[in-house]
Structure formats: C-alpha cells, structure tokens
Symmetry: D2
Subunit: 266 residues, 4 copies
C-alpha cells in the first residue's frame, strides 16, 4: 500500500525564535520512504536530531519572519498487521527495558486514576481482547468533537467530559491500557481516512508476538476509527502529545494556514 | 571520593506478583562501582533490563511471599564538577536529540504553568545563574516537611503549598528549569548528607560545557541542599519520579522495613 | 417514626483553639426533636449561630485540652415522602431565589464538567426519573470503599475512580443533578442503616411539588442505598461537604474516638 | 458621591431558553438607587427573585431570539469607609452565623491549599494589616492580563500563573483571606476606574468593627487597584464568580455586544 502525503503549513515569528518541527514520515522498517521532498524557508540555523526512541527526526530551527513548510512524500506501508483482539498480554516481568517507560504515568495520561474503573469494566478480559473492548467502549461512549478540548486537556478530563479529538482519544486509550499494565504510547501520524484532513494521532500498545517466544510488538489502536493501521504513516512516537507536537515554538509565533492531504493508492 | 552504601528493604506479596526494582548504583563513566553485592530473596523470575537512557538497570521480578533486598556497594565518584552559576544556557536549537525530551512537561512537572512566574521572577538571569537563583529561591521559600506530600503531589501542588520532601523539591526545580527552556531531569540517588538517611532525589539540568564548543552536560542541582554533587551516587534518571521509583509492584504488597546508610570516606 | 441517636466524640487541643461543631439534629418542620441532651466539656467561649439556610445550628467554641461531646436525642421524622421517580423537573425560570445557589458549581461538585456525560447517558429522561436513573447508575458502577478518598476528593475524582464513601457518593449525585439544571444540596444526617455506624451524608434534589402549582420541594436521594428518607434525621445542609463538617478546628487538634448509634423505633 | 451607570448587552437564543441575569445595582443600605431604568426585550416569562444573602435581585427569563438589555441608574454610595489596614481580625468563634459560610472553600477559591504560603509570607501580620499586605503582594507579583484566564480558572491556577483579570484577582484575594480564617466573599460591581470599562469584581473581607463591641463589617479590597470603595456600586455577592455571573444561560446562546459606562459625579 503506497500513501501519498502532502503537508503545508506556515507561521510568522516576530523575532529570531527557536522552533522544533516534527512532521516527516519516519524512516523505520515498517514503512519505506519511496520519495520525499521537504522545502523550508530560510533559517539562520537548521539541524536534524533523532526523535524519541530514534523513530523519526526532529528539526531544530532558528528563524525569523514568515516561515513556510512544504512536504511531500510517498510511503510504502509494510507493517505486519495482527488481529489485536487475539493477542496475549505479556506479563510485566517479561517486558523489555525499552517498553517499561510506556507503563508509567505521563503528563496527559494519568493511568493510576483509572485502575478501579478498568478493573470493574474490563477485568474479565485480558490482553488484546481487553484493548479492543476499551476501544469499542470509547467509540460508543465518546463523541468526536472538534473544539471541545485544548492543549491542557488530559485523559482524566476527556474521560469525564466524553468529548475530544484524536489526541484526546489517544490519551484515554493510552491511560486505560497502562492502567492494565499494558505499555502504551502516542503516535503522531498521517492517515487517509482522517476527516477533516489533518495530522492525526493514535495509540499504540505492546502485546505478545505469537511468532516469537518471549517477544512482543507494538500495535496501532485508533479509538476514533478513522485510521486503518495498514495505511497509517508514522511521524514519531512519545509518551503522549507533549512529546510529538508537529511544531513547538520557544517564543511567540502566529500560526498561518495548514493543509494536509493523505491518499492511499495501489 | 569513595562512597559506601548499604540498602536494605523488605516487602510481602500475598500472591505471585510482578515487581520492578531499581536501587543499585548505575555503572556510568562519572562513577565507578568499586565493589557491590546484591542479595535478593528467591523469585520465580528475575531479569535485568536497561533503565531509562541506559543509565543503570531495572530488575524485573515475579515473586511471592516475603521478599528481602540487601545491597552493599562501594562507589568512587569521579564526576566533573562545575560552578553551575557560571555556566551558559544552550539555545534550544543547539540541544542534542537526547536532551529534547527533558524540555517537555511530564506527569509531575507541569512547566507550562510556570512560565509567567519564571519570567517575572528570574527573567533578568540566564543559564546557570538562573538555575542557582531558582534553587536559592526554593531554599528560602519552601520548608522540607516529611509527610506533607504523597505520590500524587505534583510540582504545581508543591509550588502552591510550599512544603515537600526531596522528590517534591526536585519536581519544582525541574519544572522551573523547563519553563526556562533548560532541559531538566529527575535523578534517583544515594547521598551521605541525607537526613534521615533514605533514598534521595535531585534535579539535573543540561547546560553548555565551556570546554566543548557546541557541547553540553548534565549538572546536579539539589534545592534541599542535602546532597553534595561530589558525593552523590546516581541510581537512575527519568523525567520525574514516575520513572525511577526504587520499587513498583504490579499488584498488592505490604511494605516492610527500609534501612539506608551512605558514608563518604577518603 | 422515632429515631434514637447517640453521638460521642472527643478531641484534644494543644492550645486555646477555635472549633466549629455541627452535630445536632436540626429543629425543622419535617422532624420534631422529642428530646435531646448535649453535654460539652468546658470551654472559654461557647456560642450557637444559625447554620446554612437556617437549617440547624453551628456551635462555636474556644477551648483547650481534652474536649468531649456527648449527644443524645429522640427525633420524630414526619417528612412527606414522595416517589421521586414520578416528580417533574421545574424549569429553571420557575425556581425560587433560595434554590438558585444550589444550581451552581461548588468546591467539590464541578457540575459543568459532567454535562456531556449526563446528556449522553440520561438525556432521554427528565426530572425525578432522571435522578433515579443517576442514583441507580451510581449504585451499579461505584463500589463503597472506606479509605478510598480523603478530604480533597472531588466529584470529578470520584467519578473517575469509581470508589468512595457516603460523602463522595453525595458529591457525584449532586454534580450529576446540577449538570441537569436540577438544584441539589448536601445533607449531613443520622440514619439507622449506616454500616459501620457513623455520621452520614446524602444528596437532596429540588423537584416540582405536584400538590402546589409552581411549587417545589427538596427530596433526599442516597446513592449508597444505606439511608431510608423516612428515617433520616437531618443535621444541616450545604452546597457540599465543605459546608457541613461535624467538626472544623482552626488550629491543630488530635481527634480521639467517635461512637455513633442510630436506631429506629415505633 | 453619585455614580452614573449605563449597561447594555445583547444575546441571541436559537430556541426558548432559560436565562438568569444579575446586572442591576443592589438596593442595600450602603448605596441608594436615586433613579434607574431597566429595559428588556420581550420574554415569555420574567420573574425577579432575591439574590444571594438578599443582596440584589436575579432576573429569571424564558426567552427566544434576539434579546437586548439596557440599564441606566444613578446611585448614591454612602458606604462607611475604613482604613482596612487598621482593622482587627475577629476571632473565628466571634463570627456571626451569616459570615461562617464565607470561611469555607468554594469552587474557585481553594483556601486550604494556601495555608502554608499564607503563614510563611504573612504570618507576622494580623487582621486588616495582613489583608493589605496580601493585596500589595498581589499587586506586585501579578500582571493584569486580559485573555490569560477563562471560566475554569481557579485561585490556585492564578496563584501559579501570576496572570489574570479582576475575577481572578478577587479569587486569589478571597482564598488568601480565608486561608487566614478571615471570611471573604466575591462582589460583582460597577466602578468608574475600570479600564477598559466593563463589569468589575472585587473581594470583600469581614473584619472587626471598632465602633461596635463584638461586631464586624464587610470591607471591599481590590487587588487590581482599579476600584475605589467610595465609588463602587455593588450588584451582588457570592462565594466566588460561580454565584454572581451577570448572565447565565441554560442552553445555547450567542453573545452579542456589551457596553458599560460608569461615571462619578459630585
């Protein structure tokens, strides 16, 4: 499956300002960058650094005035897909070191607060079956509502208010999974089904790999049901949205316009 | 400087339970493990995995019944010490990839909430001078008060309540530093001056290294003033206390006793 | 129905300290104080003041050293009981002035946060039928768990954690009702069925009185199902628990013991 | 001192909706309504009910479509003014029943969280002198910043963020006073010095009346320094902003425009 991505956004800086960008498809085994082109306005400083867990890159800029980002890419997704509902949970003591940090509470995902609820509501299920039940519970009980949340909204807020956007759905999904001692992380991505077209976010959970004794793997779970894992192009990962914003400015900026287009083709 | 460490703690598990431990001095360039001995009760499963950023190790257990941990070590601290107040801030765009995640908000350190305060109170200072001013402001305005906080207490809570223990002091210090776009992380450690003797926690900030153009380094800052960086033995690091507990149980446990002894000798 | 109440509690003050008590059955039309006896240790100052909305009295003390409260009362409850599920909601614009403040958010009852949930879950029902559905939803989804909450726990916390005691159940019930624009208040009370015997708390909601055109009345709703409105003796009311603690000390106090006994007799 | 007030605002309702308004100068002893005129669009229901503590009135409406409020009044302020810094604190046990509820935490004013700070920072002062020190501390450490807060912002938020508008200043002032066991309430008002002209909010504290043994009185304290108590016309009071909004709609409404003019004349 090849995915064609176009991303364009602009912003204006009133003075020389540091900016961190992360918007490019990550070059990782599960997806091949067939072609790509990144056009950036001129900056007094530009450097690429590896992003979290070496998945994708961040771009550091020091720039001033109007800034324009134009990105096109064609990406082949070769992700191994599994029926998540059939996968087993790994016992915590089997988890590899790099998955451990995704068990812990993070800025927006207060899993400790949700343990009683998770036990009451999903306690009869284990592993992937529990994850699917959580995803379906969210789909049934939450309403996707642009404008209902902001950059301070946490998983607890969304759990109470039952409204949110992709970021909020991912945060609740992550918190529910971690409350079950299943590692879960936040994935910034492109996906064709997102409506209106925009950057997207999904959760990813770490479950046992039935083909590798003692092994495990990450699997995409999208409680908004907008992204198909077979067509999802990862930009980067983090513990939650605090880690993988497409743009972070260290100073004042006026955001301009943004246009995202993502299409699947054979 | 050689530091002699003894740590002992016990706990009881009512059924087979997964436990994550992190209490051993990390084998890292700035400190040499001269000798060490870890004695653990028998467990049905025991595995060591690298801890966060490969600093130290975590021990995964699956155990049942009474469990006892006895650890002794002699550690030579060779940390390069600097006069933090003289060090320059690195511009964000100069930061290496691995420092970036320590700029972001984490579970207990909501730096975004403290930006106005930091600008008002410390805006005239930069880099290490600002860090020292923050540390001294905390020492003057906070009272170290065992029992005043719990495992849910955040940097914002402590900032308002002006009371806390080492963990809380480190959280506020980290949040203030990040609000200044200075990377900051949480360090679990042993240190001789801690009173009453216990595991300790300090903040670490990333500042320019005057000897390496474009380079930076981490420096310990302890707003409780109990730990001397020259005598501090690191166990592990994290974004905040959520990442480096000495013991995390995935199920019910009764904690028993704990004895920590840390001495410096020539 | 006559209710026999015995309440005893003690506390110790290290220096002359102001204390506010509210533990006596309120003298109000719906319950008649057949007999009562209040024995208090000596205090340098003692004054009774009317409590909130003139329901019951608060006792101001200035005391020192050991203090003992012994209270016995026999109270006839003549409350008019209604089938709450049959009662109609009053339109907001019909509410009398004194009910209006019980529509608003209070310290522990953040009704604004629960409006989406209430609309999604109970939107097809109105008035008393909605209140009963909320009460039953709580009974089904929450577990009464002594020790699960503390004096900072809010309705939002309890809604997320699904655990609490009478105070927490009342807070969630109040928040859900106010989120439906039904006035709701907190009632501190004695009731025979409370197990273990203690002071109790329930919610009260304001619904249309079918016998008085344009009129309304308060009705007890206990989501813990421990108190029968026909046997509940009110002590006082407030917006939430912040208003009607049985004991508030303005300084340090060591609480001693507490014994409550409440029995119904013909 | 006569104050001339003009207030105009409009809103649009898409369907028949209940609305609660409170914008008229209260008829209370400390201010005389010399003349007034309230013009409201037609409504299917309109009723006046007493507002909190019988200070001022609330107007209940049921209306539809465009709605317009035009209010003019001329009010003589005869408030007894005191040098607040000279007034003594009343001991809690001397407080009259009606002041007690203003000691407790409310939705936006979490006084319990601020007790350590208040003791550390203002512990050497008592009564009115402490209140003035708090007001001046706020004036020095906070920056009045329209747009920095919203309707969810609490006193704790503002205390941390050091930015806010009149509502937020009043909330912090109230929380600091209550943390000192001084009753404090929120006052919605008109005042000439408010810039830009708008509804205003101040705190009011209850301190000993030197002319009446055992008596006390409420005194306006405005940490924004925009309102002069001698020229402040009260609309209503409450525990915090949750109680005295000038307009609360129980359904969807589009707010239109708002113009407030307040002038003092001899």
């Amino acid at each position: 499956m090849a995915i064609d991505i176009k991303a364009h956004f602009t912003f204006t800086l009133d003075q020389a300002t540091d900016v961190l960008l992360q918007f490019e498809a990550a070059a990782i085994p599960e997806q091949t960058i067939l072609s790509n082109d990144t056009q950036l306005s001129e900056a007094s400083h530009m450097a690429r650094v590896p992003a979290q867990d070496a998945i994708g890159e961040r771009i550091w800029l020091r720039a001033n005035g109007e800034f324009r980002v134009d990105y096109t890419a064609r990406v082949e997704v070769q992700r191994l897909l599994a029926d998540v509902g059939e996968l087993k949970r790994m016992d915590p003591h089997e988890l590899p070191g790099e998955a451990v940090e995704y068990l812990f509470d993070s800025r927006y995902c207060q899993a400790d607060r949700m343990q009683s609820f998770v036990e009451d509501e999903f306690g009869r299920l284990e592993g992937g079956a529990r994850i699917i039940a959580m995803r379906d519970w969210m789909a049934e009980n939450f309403i996707y509502t642009p404008g209902s949340s902001n950059s301070n909204t946490t998983a607890v807020d969304t759990f109470v208010e039952r409204r949110g956007i992709c970021r909020d759905y991912a945060h609740v999904m992550i918190a529910l999974a971690r409350a079950s001692t299943i590692p879960a992380r936040f994935v910034s991505c492109y996906a064709p089904g997102v409506d209106p077209p925009d950057f997207h976010a999904v959760a990813e959970v770490f479950l046992a790999d039935p083909t590798v004794p003692g092994g495990g793997a990450w699997h995409i779970v999208d409680a908004t049901h907008m992204a198909d894992p077979a067509e999802t192009v990862k930009i980067g990962i983090g513990r939650d949205a605090a880690d993988v914003s497409f743009m972070t400015t260290f100073g004042m900026a006026q955001f301009g316009d943004k246009q995202i287009s993502v299409r699947a083709s054979e």
